[in-house]
Symmetry: D2
Subunit: 298 residues, 4 copies
Amino acid sequence: MSQHVYQTNQPREEKQNRARMLILCPDRAGIVATVSQFLYEQGANIVQSDQYTMDPEGGMFFMRIEFDLNNLESALPSLQEDFARVADRFSMKWSVYRAGRRKRIAVLVSKEDHCLLELLWQWQSGDLDAEISMVISNHEDMRQLVESYGIPYHYIPVTPDTKAEAERQQLELTEGKVDLVILARYMQIVTPKFIERFPNRIINIHHSFLPAFVGGKPYHQAYSRGVKLIGATAHYVTEELDAGPIIEQDVQRVSHRENVNELKRMGRHIERTVLARAVKWHVEDRIVVYQNKTVVFV
Amino acid sequence: MSQHVYQTNQPREEKQNRARMLILCPDRAGIVATVSQFLYEQGANIVQSDQYTMDPEGGMFFMRIEFDLNNLESALPSLQEDFARVADRFSMKWSVYRAGRRKRIAVLVSKEDHCLLELLWQWQSGDLDAEISMVISNHEDMRQLVESYGIPYHYIPVTPDTKAEAERQQLELTEGKVDLVILARYMQIVTPKFIERFPNRIINIHHSFLPAFVGGKPYHQAYSRGVKLIGATAHYVTEELDAGPIIEQDVQRVSHRENVNELKRMGRHIERTVLARAVKWHVEDRIVVYQNKTVVFV
Amino acid sequence: MSQHVYQTNQPREEKQNRARMLILCPDRAGIVATVSQFLYEQGANIVQSDQYTMDPEGGMFFMRIEFDLNNLESALPSLQEDFARVADRFSMKWSVYRAGRRKRIAVLVSKEDHCLLELLWQWQSGDLDAEISMVISNHEDMRQLVESYGIPYHYIPVTPDTKAEAERQQLELTEGKVDLVILARYMQIVTPKFIERFPNRIINIHHSFLPAFVGGKPYHQAYSRGVKLIGATAHYVTEELDAGPIIEQDVQRVSHRENVNELKRMGRHIERTVLARAVKWHVEDRIVVYQNKTVVFV
Amino acid sequence: MSQHVYQTNQPREEKQNRARMLILCPDRAGIVATVSQFLYEQGANIVQSDQYTMDPEGGMFFMRIEFDLNNLESALPSLQEDFARVADRFSMKWSVYRAGRRKRIAVLVSKEDHCLLELLWQWQSGDLDAEISMVISNHEDMRQLVESYGIPYHYIPVTPDTKAEAERQQLELTEGKVDLVILARYMQIVTPKFIERFPNRIINIHHSFLPAFVGGKPYHQAYSRGVKLIGATAHYVTEELDAGPIIEQDVQRVSHRENVNELKRMGRHIERTVLARAVKWHVEDRIVVYQNKTVVFV
C-alpha cells in the first residue's frame, strides 16, 4: 500500500540543522554558563534548554539542550571536538544527536497487535519521528499488516530448542542496523547477550503498574488482589526481569465489575498509550538513565 | 468552639425513614424479582438499587437497595423477621442499616494530621455523614485541635512495654461504643485481638499504591524505584500487613524532580482524598467484602 | 485483506438469547418489583440491572435491564406484547434490543483518519460489538484503507452546488440500512433532513470540552484563551450546532509550551478515545436521552 | 491557639541566599549564554533554570532562574544595578525576588470555607510558603476559625449602598501591606479600582472549567447542559468577568446521577485543589503573564 510509505531516513529539511545535547556530570557552579557560552561562540542558537540538579549539595547535574547550527552536518564534528575539552573540565558524560537523523527501530511482537498498531499509527501520522526498520515476530500473524506498510517482517520462531539460533538471527538482523528495540508485547524473554548489545536501548511495555505484579499474568494478579486501578509501565530492559529503569507509567480506574478479560481489554488502551509516549521520548533524546532511574526532559 | 458542634447522633428528619439493605448470595434466577416484590408488599419504596453478578454461571450475587418505609423505626423489626424467611430460601447473607443512625467513628492518629483534618473538614461540612466519637493517639500533638471540635481526645502512649496495656485501653474505649475504626496515619501496628473485635470495620490508609511498596517508608521505596506515579490505598485491616481488602486507590503523576520529601508532601493530598472516599462509602453502607476483595456500590 | 473480515452480522452463539430493555417513565412505587416479577414469570434471567431516579419526589425513572431468555428469537414477540400492558400502567417509554443483532454503522469521514482508525481497530479486536457497514467520505483519501477491511467506501463530494444531491445520496445509502451514523471528524454540516431521519442516532465528536469552544477551530480558540486542559466531546447531533446531548467527554493537561499544532496532535488521542467510548455505549444500548441530556448506564 | 503561629515573615535561614529571576524579552541568540555568564561572574550558583520560546522565529522568550548568592541581602542591589545594563541590551522585562521574603497574602471570603481551610492547612503544614496577613470577609461567619490561627479578621459588609465605602476600607487595609489578594469563593465583584492596584496579583477561583459557564451559578449551568466532567479554574482577575489569564484548571468526572448539590459538593474538592496550586505557583514566582495568558514554570 504505497500511501503509507511516505517516510524515509533522509534528514528532513526543517530539522537538518537541529541538534540535541545530553549532559550528565557532578554539579558545580558555572556549568550552565560555560555550556551556553560555548554554544553561543560556536554560532549555535539554543531553542530549548532543560536542566535538573539531583541535590544542590554535591548531587548530579543533568542537562538537555536543543540548538540550531548552520550547516550542522559539516560543522558538528569540530564542535564536538571542541566541546570534548569543556566536558573534560567538568567530568561530563555527554552525547549530541542530530534531530534530522531519525532513529531506526526494530519492533518485536508476538500475537497481541495493539501496541504495534499504535506505533504504526503514530509513525504514519508523523507523531513518531523515527523509522520503523523492521518487525520481528515469533509468529506469522502480523506479516500481512506489517508488509502493507512496506516494512520488512521477519519470522523467527522461538522454542526451547531454537532459542540460541533465534538469538543469533535477531542479532544478525538488528546489530548495527537499528538504534532502538521495542518489545511491543513480545512474549519471550530476551537473552542477556541481546540486552548487552542494546544497553538502555530496549524498551519493554509491562502490563502492570510496576513494581506491583512483576512477572507473568499481571492482569490475573491484579484481579486476584482486587486493585481499583490497573496500569502499564514502559521501561528499559535490564537483566533483572521487570526491574529496569522506568520511563513512563499510567493507570486506569477499574471496579469489581471487570473480570480478567475486561481488565485485559481496558489495559490494552493504557499499554499502547504508555509505550508510545516512552518511545517518543526516547527517539527525541529526552531520556537520561542514571542509577537504574530515568530523568525525562519533557 | 461551639460552632463546630452542630452534629448529633439523633436520627435526622429527612433520613429517618431511609434504610439500606446489603445482600450476598449464590446467583440464581428470581432474586431481584423476589426481593423487590417483597419490599413492595411491605410498603417500601425503592429509591436506589444496584446489583452485581460475579459470574452469570454459578457466581455470587451482590445487591444493595436503598428504600424508604413509613415509620421505619417501628416497622423495621417485623420487616426483618419476614425477610429472614426469604433470605433462607436463597442462602443469603444480608444486613439492613438505618440511614438515620449515623455510624460512630474512632480515629486513631499519630503525628501526621492531614488525614484527620480532612475527616474533620468533611464531617463539619456535612459531607461525611457519621459521628466522630473520639480520637485516640499515641501522642499529645493533636489534642487542642480535636478538642476544639468538641470531640474527646484520648492519649494512649505505646511502647514495647506498654503494648498490652495500650490494647486494653483501646478496647475499653471502643468496644461496643464505635462502629468503625479509622487508622488515619496511625503509625503503630494494631493487635490481632483488636482486629478480631472489628472485622472489616478498621480502615487503614497506606501511603502507596498497594501491592507495590508494602510495609515501611513507601515513599522512600517509590523514590528508590523511580516510579512515575505515586499512590495511596485505603483498605480494611486484616492480620496480614497491608494485605486486607482494598476499598479505594488513587495516584498522582510525579517526575524525577521530586525528592522523598516532595513525594511525601504530594502524597498527603492523595492519602486524605482516598481515605475520605473509603470512609464515606463505608458509612453509607456501600461496601461488601467477599474473599478479601470489596464490591463497592457507588 | 481477508484476515480482517471475520465479523458478520449473524447473531452470535453466546449472545443469541441475551436482550436489553430500556425503560423511561415517571417514578412511582412498585416499578422495579413489577418489571422484575414480569421478567421472572416469563422465564427470563436478569443478568444486569441498573436504575436511576432523577428526583425521588415526582421525578423521572430510568432503567436498563439485561436478561437471558431461552429461544429469544421466537419468544421475544409475545414477551413484548405482554409487556406492553405493563408499560401502559406506568406510562413507560421502552425498547427491547437483542444483543445478538449487532447495530449497523455508517462512518462519515473527511481527511483526518485517527477516529476512523480507532473504530476499525476496536471493531477488529472485537471490542466494538457492531457492524461497520460502510464509510462515506467527501474525499477519496481513505478508500484504500477502508476497502482493505472489506468495508464499502462511498465517495460523495460536497460543494455548495452539490449539497442537495449529496444529501440525497447519503440518505439513499443509509436509510433503513444503518442503525447509527458516526461523524468521525466529518467536516461538513449534516442537513436537518438527515438529522431528522436519525434522531439520537448520529454521534459526532467535537474537538473541545463543550460547551467551551463551540464551532470551528476549537484548538485555535483553546490556544488563544490559554486553557490548561484540552478536551473532546461526543454528543448526539441535533439541529443546533454542537448543542446536542453530551454522551462522553474527556480532557488532557496541556501547558503554555504546546502550540496549536501540538494541541491538535494531543487532541487526536482524546478525540478517538472519547468517540470510541460513546459508540461502544450506544451499540450496547446503554444510553437514554431525556431533555437534551443523556443517562448512561455503565 | 498558639501552636498554629509558628510562621513569621523573617527570612528563613535555609533560603536567605536564594533568589528567583523572571525574564521576558524578544527571542534572539545569546540570551541564555549572557544571563548565565553574568550570574556566574557575580558569584551566583544557578540551582534551577527554565526557559520557553514562544516561536523560534521572532517570538517572545521567557526565563526563570533560581540562584544562590552569598550575602544575598547586601549583594543583591549591586547585582540588580549591573543586570539592568544587560537587560537593556535585550529589551528585557525582568524581576528578582528573594525566596526568603515570603509574600503577604490577603484572603477574601464570603460564606464557603473550603478554599480558605485548604490555604490555612497548606500554610500551617509549611506547603504554602507565604504569610497569610489577613482575612477579609463580607460576613462574620469565619472570624473564630481565622482568629484561632492568630490571623486578623476584618469584617467589611458589602451592600449596594456601602460599596464605595467597602472598597475604601479594603484598599486601606491591603495597599502596600499585602503582595497578593486571593478571592477564595468571595461572592462580590471587586471594583476596577481595586483591580488596578493589584495588577496580576489577584487570584480568583471560578467554579467551572472556563471558558465554559462564565458568570453566576456555574454548577447549575453544568447540570443543565449535562456535561460529564465538572471543573474549576484559578485565574488572575481582570476587568472583564472570568476572562483573566488562566493559571490552573482541573476537572472531575461526574454522571447523570449527580444533582446540582452533589456537583457543588464534588466541586469543592476541585476548587480548593486548583486554587492552592495556583497560589503556590504565584508565591514561588513561577508565573509570567503575557497577552492574557500565563507561562507557568513548574
